[in-house]
Symmetry: C3
Subunit: 152 residues, 3 copies
């Protein structure tokens, strides 16, 4: 690869990581429009196991809004250990594996839940912007508990 | 941007992430001089909510020393999901958002506390070194518990 | 440094982070051959404290297999706060410090364990591939508990 292509590859890896970070942060901050914007328009695949499988971003956003946009739902979505690979010559497609540590607090009861697992993602650059075009999450670690005290 | 500017941008993003990582690791290792060195000299803003608001690094380090530099205080400060943006043309200023997973163990009682939230940071390059010039942390997830056994 | 050397440095940092991420993910997924492949052949040093000290990758993999490759062992190994430094002029050696958040669930009893600490690593590029040639882990935070419910 020439220097320009090597720089473009590093820029793409950085942009894809930031895209996923923006998605995960938006999930905690309940920034619904930001969540929607992380996915491509048109047909995509979001396979979140027991939460559901969605073929377009609006269907997923509707379910996210129903499940998460309540004051009692307090979430942490922390990505870890990303492994991103660009595909092909032009570098407009990529795949990635991420670990996730998800923690949920029910602000009414103090009940807690922790879920660990892996995302398998596919990304595409459309009009210069990287978007998620496929994502599947599988959990392999789940525990529940009760907080002695909690905020709020 | 020309190639040199594109490389410089990637280098700056890398340096800023490493700066924050060094800060968070130093907080766990109680490396007080390393913590101080992560912030710029002179007037800065450290807004850590209930812990306090500080206008210079020495004031913060004094409070950190009092709160954390005790054998019973065992901390984890793990950064997640960084989103860093360089500002302006010369690229000597940047802003960033980070998620934090903070865990505390009281080594005397076994009491535990977990805090999740977000940093909003501002960074500046001074004499070739990136430093934190403003940082605000807001928690939105907090739980407490008790360890059945703990070390030490 | 000229532009090519600056790009090569960023590529090396990216490759080393991905190597460690691949290692940590493989530990959770129990991908034994992938774990082995993260370490260099020949004499290396793996110092995992109470788990043992190992002078070659096969010795470590044998112990890993015995400890982790059981259905009741469910693990999360999440790296955080990497600080990687390339050494020397040719850039074929590097050192790194990482924080780790490790969580274990005993799927038979629901017992949980959490361990936080630091890796100090040394990496070497051999035939174009970065490998771990030395790693030491020291925990400073450890708690245990019980899940009210767990999966599986």
């Amino acid at each position: 690869m020439n220097l320009e292509a090597r720089i473009a590859r590093l820029e793409a890896l950085e942009a894809i990581q930031r895209l996923k970070h923006r998605y995960l942060n938006a999930c905690d901050l309940k920034q619904v429009e930001s969540i929607r914007d992380c996915f491509a328009e048109g047909e995509i695949l979001i396979d979140y196991g027991p939460i559901g499988t969605f073929r377009d971003r609006d269907s997923f956003v509707a379910v996210y809004r129903e499940l998460a946009c309540q004051p009692r739902v307090i979430d942490l979505h922390h990505g870890a250990n990303p492994e991103i690979y660009l595909l092909g010559e032009d570098g407009d497609e990529a795949v990635g594996r991420w670990a996730l540590c998800y923690c949920n607090l029910d602000a009414e009861t103090g009940a807690t839940r922790k879920l660990g697992g892996f995302y398998q993602d596919r990304y595409r650059r459309v009009d210069g912007q990287w978007r998620i075009v496929a994502t599947a999450f599988r959990g392999h670690f789940e525990t529940s508990g009760a907080s002695l005290q909690h905020t709020p």
